[in-house]
């Protein structure tokens, strides 16, 4: 069984939202509400319990100097966000019921029939991906189309993407593809093109990687995501220190009790 991943290349995304709709259709997710947001052409906001793929629309200052003139006139970039399926996943570590598991494809999967809705995973996710369904309280997110992968199909979003902005495949091959693509983009003058795959932090890389331009925060991607459990050691150390201090203080108080010297 190969370990798989997404490579989402925002320089190829045309903002059609086919991934978003294909995901909802395949997984039978409920609607997001019918409110106009005014955030460019984005009316579903962010990845959440009812949106597992989400296309972000970034309107910003022009990016000059790339040849042609389109980039100098305006800049409108699109990128399809999704659960990162971290190599070391905060949600999985936080889950007390064992509902969240790692699949044979390397993805992180919430078993809806085991989830008890405690919500620990929600706060444990460094990307703000996992969210609870407001009706029943259970946590939901991208399943990495576990059911489709099981039978040899590509995830619905990757299948629906018309421009191959969302690529799906074996993780090492995709990392190599990303490296080559980045070289190509730099050669074409896109100096700000970058590969987002936080291997250097405690999430130790993701199964949903991105090619973006500029600051990752523009795309809702934290520059240095951390799994909350890395703070455990520090937490325990502080607790131990506090406990030690308390104990020591108590002992000291006992030992230095004035009465003992009498």
């Amino acid at each position: 069984m190969s370990v798989t991943a997404f490579l989402t290349d925002s320089t190829l995304c045309i903002g059609c939202k086919a991934c978003e709709v294909a995901c909802k259709e395949w997984n039978g997710i409920e609607g997001d509400g019918l409110d106009w947001s005014g955030f460019s052409y984005d009316n579903t906001g962010a990845v959440g319990a009812s949106t597992w793929r989400h296309v972000k629309f970034v309107e910003r200052a022009p990016v000059p100097g790339l040849g042609g003139n389109a980039g100098e006139q305006a800049s409108w970039t699109f990128s399809s966000d999704v659960c990162k399926h971290c190599e070391q996943a905060g949600c999985l570590e936080a889950c007390p019921t064992g509902s969240i598991v790692r699949t044979e494809f390397g993805g992180v999967f919430i078993q809806p029939d085991v989830c008890n809705g405690c919500g620990y995973c929600v706060t444990a996710c460094p990307f703000g991906v996992v969210a609870r369904n407001e009706q029943d309280g259970r946590a939901f997110k991208c399943t990495f189309c576990y059911d489709r992968q099981k039978v040899g199909l590509r995830p619905a979003c990757a299948k629906a993407c018309p421009t191959e902005s969302i690529q799906f495949g074996e993780i090492d091959e995709l990392r190599e593809k990303a490296r080559l693509r980045l070289e190509e983009l730099h050669r074409r003058g896109m100096d700000d093109a970058a590969f987002y795959d936080p291997t250097h932090t405690s999430v130790r890389g993701t199964h949903a990687m991105f090619i973006i331009r500029g600051d990752p925060r523009t795309y809702n991607l934290p520059p240095s995501p951390q799994v909350p459990t890395i703070y455990l050691k520090k937490g325990w150390r502080s607790s131990a220190l506090a406990a030690g201090l308390l104990l020591g203080g108590t002992l000291l108080a006992l030992l230095t009790d004035g009465r003992s010297g009498r």
């Binding site: 903002g15 259709e25 019918l34 106009w36 579903t44 006139q73 409108w76 018309p162």
Partner: protein
């Protein structure tokens, strides 16, 4: 599609979407392809990734602009000025592909001495009859070409009828005999006339009146025109952003001229891709839902002297040379498909049973008749005109004049519910109690619930299976039409009046299957493909059609799609190559790129290794290559042409790629068949803020405004009440009038509300902030929308003053999960002269902060807006 039809011979995209990936430059104009054809846009992306320059020309910076190398913000409605300047740039800088132009276009044809250009007559060509408000094409013909007298109007120039039937044009003369100058030096040859015609279409004019800065224009012109010649090609993509103008056909003509000059037709990575509005729109002109043509672009006969006798009709529409020399073969075979044994030589194959065109029966023609109470009943299928058609208020009020209305749809659309839910009811203009229209709503099957064939944008027939049975009483179109026809025929059987002879003769013997007795769609396609009579052997190619009644064929251009029983080529699903051979069937003859003889030099060898497609195989003595040749397979390139006295396709010889034209070449200049001139000229939109900078003639002389109290216009140019330019468009997230998308939460949530896109500058001028409400008005209506302030909209500087353009997507209505005002209520009903389409892409409006009034107050606001006295 007479724009492409008259230029090249066929009213269809010349290339396949996949082939865009072979282009060295792509001009997208009149289309936001990334938004409305996102799947096909993958090939533009692929070309871009391979280094092609992508140029997008649009008043708005759209998702397509975001993917382009160069974006040019254009004042809506100045497309011909822009494209004409590109043509002029090519000619001024000698960028034309000379060898292609000399051999494969009519640049060398010499025009008559009495021809006058728009340069001579200040915006009119010779032949204009101000009394009749129309052109006579007599003076447009080639020098020496005998004018064809048929006893009636010249083909394509009748008052009645649209333009689809004369997709090819040029039947007004015998185009085989004319004078020409291959050096292109003769002052009256097409090439020199063209030079003079566009000489004032300069980069300075583009900057001043299109609003495109000169340096950006020059950058784009250089990028596009340098992708030309033996080694390079460039493609053009357009959609309804070109067609929906009062001069849409001529916009497409300008693009055709440009592509012929650059040698980009019939070659890989070249061509003009007409991006059709939605599924099977190409199919609905091939096997038409139009009133003015029969299947395969055979003209519907007119109620005129030259249509009274079959002989005259055939004479009028045949040509001596080229593929149309077999017009009678196509026509007789169609009659045999319609009437079977009832069609015989002694009754003119049933020609007299065909209805005759007596007037303008286009959408707007009959809708205005309906508004005037002249129509009793109406079938509405696959359409939602209460939302999707121009001047919605007029359209909906007209529905109330019907006795009966049948709507077939998957949901209760605005059209089906106009009688109780329309804005007219809210405003007190209509009330359910007084509307006499009986409305029948028939539930329709969805795409997955019926089998059949689509013909998509690139002439590709694709068969789809039925996945599930439709729910309840829902049925497919084939079921409905078959059983409707069957019942009408049964009624006719008992009614001996001669008017029913045709109905009685009509073959309607498809077998039925299943619980719902659905007609077998394969049988219908077999009939469309054609077969021999009486043996019923399936035909395999167009050449097998006969004019003696021994073949039947429902649409000659589709011949070959069903070459033997059980072999539906539209259902093939194993693509072998980039162009998709093995997947579906592309008419004609599974050619993916048509006129592909032009991909080889006159001597039959490819222009270059890089751009090879079809070439002559000297050993096998046949045309071969990467596509099926759109040519006589065994006619050698050195076979001489004999268009002066020869007949048929053979007369074209071996080096004339445009085989539907009688002279076998692409037409830079169209000698007859277009009602608004042989060459394109810039005219202002019917409603404009500006004087025509080039000619005294302000608007397209042939366009019809259909102006009346319920279809009023702003004064033009420069109505002070309407200071902005309005352009309407579609979004990826919704489908046309919204009946299939506003009803589904997963799509409705993506664009839940009507919004208007305006520039920060206009917002500041009006004191509007992002998210506010605004009301947009025209003389026809008013709509309210949320304000989207975005730098993607920008003012343009036109003739020294700042012009604001307002963008409005049009998908909303009063039914469905998300609702909103109907943008098409703002548009006027107008008719472009050739195809009678309305102008939706360039008009004038006002925009004021705040929401519109409600109820009867809205009616008062509307009337006040129109400046009418109550």
């Amino acid at each position: 599609m007479p724009g492409l039809g008259t230029s090249f011979g066929r009213g269809g995209a010349t290339t396949a979407q996949q082939d865009l990936s072979n282009a060295d430059a792509i001009l997208i104009m009149g289309s936001s392809m990334a938004e409305n054809h996102p799947v096909g846009f993958q090939w533009v992306m692929e070309a871009r990734e391979k280094g092609a320059k992508v140029i997008h020309v649009d008043p708005r910076y759209t998702r397509t602009s975001a993917m382009a190398d160069i974006w040019l913000p254009l004042r809506a409605g100045t497309d011909i000025l822009f494209l004409g300047a590109l043509v002029n740039y090519v000619l001024e800088n000698n960028r034309e592909f000379r060898e292609y132009v000399v051999h494969y276009t009519n640049a060398s044809a010499i025009l008559r001495e009495d021809f006058r250009d728009t340069e001579d007559l200040d915006g009119l060509f010779s032949g204009w009859d101000a009394q009749k408000n129309k052109y006579s094409p007599e003076s447009w013909l080639y020098q020496g070409a005998p004018s064809k007298e048929t006893g009636g109007e010249k083909a394509g120039h009748s008052d009645v009828g649209g333009g689809h039937g004369k997709d090819r044009g040029g039947e007004a003369q015998d185009a085989g005999q004319f004078e020409s100058d291959p050096t292109l030096e003769h002052p009256r040859c097409v090439f020199q006339v063209l030079k003079r015609h566009f000489s004032r279409y300069t980069p300075e004019m583009v900057e001043r009146y299109c609003g495109v800065p000169e340096d950006v224009f020059l950058k784009a012109a250089d990028a596009f025109s340098s992708a030309s010649g033996p080694e390079r090609t460039a493609a053009i993509c357009y959609a309804v952003g070109w067609t929906q103008h009062s001069k849409g056909v001529q916009i497409i003509r300008t693009a055709s001229i440009l592509q012929l000059l650059l040698g980009n037709i019939g070659r890989p990575g070249g061509g003009i891709l007409a991006l059709r509005g939605h599924a099977s729109i190409q199919g609905s002109t091939d096997i038409p839902t139009l009133y003015d043509i029969l299947p395969g672009y055979l003209p519907m006969p007119l109620f005129e002297s030259d249509s009274h006798q079959l002989e005259d009709y055939i004479k009028k529409h045949s040509t001596r040379t080229g593929l149309w020399s077999k017009f009678d073969h196509y026509f007789v075979s169609l009659m045999k498909a319609y009437y079977g044994d009832g069609a015989a030589k002694d009754n003119d194959w049933g020609f007299h049973w065909l209805p005759r065109i007596t007037g303008d029966h286009s959408h707007f023609g009959y809708w205005l008749d309906m508004a005037d109470g002249k129509l009793e009943g109406l079938f509405v299928m696959g359409q939602n005109p209460a939302v999707g058609a121009s001047n919605g208020r007029l359209e909906r009020k007209a529905l109330a004049k019907l006795k009966w209305l049948v709507v077939r749809d998957m949901v209760e659309t605005e059209t089906a519910s106009f009688w109780y839910a329309s804005p007219e009811v809210e405003r007190g203009e209509l009330s359910p109690e007084t509307i006499g229209t009986e409305v029948f709503l028939f539930p329709a099957a969805g795409t997955a619930e019926k089998a059949g064939t689509f013909t998509n944008t690139q002439r590709l027939l694709q068969h789809r299976e039925k996945a599930v049975d439709p729910p309840g009483d829902a049925r497919g179109e084939a079921w409905f039409m078959y059983h409707l026809g069957r019942r009408i025929k049964e009624k006719a059987k008992n009614d001996a009046r001669s008017r029913n002879d045709g109905l009685r003769a009509l073959t309607w013997n498809y077998s039925v299957e299943g619980l719902h007795t659905e007609p077998k769609v394969d049988e219908i396609l077999e009939e469309i493909n054609g077969y021999t009579l009486p043996g019923r052997v399936q035909l395999t190619k167009i050449k097998e059609l006969r004019n003696d009644g021994s073949t039947a064929c429902g649409a000659w251009i589709y011949c070959g799609v069903f070459p033997e029983p059980g072999h539906n080529r539209a259902n093939e699903r194993n693509p072998r190559d980039l162009l998709g051979h093995g997947w579906g069937f592309s008419w004609p003859n599974d050619c993916r790129i048509i006129y592909n003889r032009a991909s080889a030099r006159p001597d039959g060898q490819p222009w270059s290794e890089r751009k090879k497609l079809v070439w002559w195989d000297e050993e096998k003595k046949e045309w071969t290559g990467l596509d099926n040749p759109d040519y006589e397979k065994n006619v050698a390139p050195d076979e001489p042409a004999n268009i002066h006295s020869g007949t048929g396709i053979k007369a074209l010889g071996g080096a004339k790629p445009f085989i539907l034209h009688p002279d076998g070449v692409g037409w830079i200049y169209v000698p007859s068949g277009l009602k608004d001139g042989p060459l394109p000229a810039h005219y202002e939109p019917l409603e404009s803020l500006f004087h025509n900078p080039l000619y005294r003639q302000q608007t397209n002389p042939g366009a019809q405004k259909k102006e009346r109290p319920d279809n009023p216009y702003a004064e033009s140019p420069g109505d002070p009440r309407f200071p902005y330019v309005l352009t309407t468009y579609r979004l990826t997230e919704h489908h046309t009038a919204g009946g299939m998308t506003r009803t589904l939460s997963h799509l409705a949530e993506l664009q839940p509300e009507l919004f208007t896109e305006i520039s920060p500058e206009l917002a500041a001028e009006l004191g509007l902030t992002h998210g506010d409400w605004a009301t947009i008005t025209t003389p026809r209506g008013l709509v309210e929308a949320r304000v989207m302030v975005t730098p993607r909209m920008r003012p343009v500087r036109i003739d020294g003053r700042v012009l604001h353009q307002v963008g409005l997507p049009y998908h909303w209505g009063y039914r469905g999960q998300v609702t909103g005002d109907i943008v098409n209520d703002l548009l006027a009903i107008s008719e472009e002269p050739n195809v009678r389409i309305m102008e939706t892409k360039a008009l004038v409006c006002n925009l004021v902060p705040g929401r519109r009034a409600r109820g009867s107050a809205a009616r008062q606001q509307l009337d006040a807006q129109l400046g009418r006295t109550a």
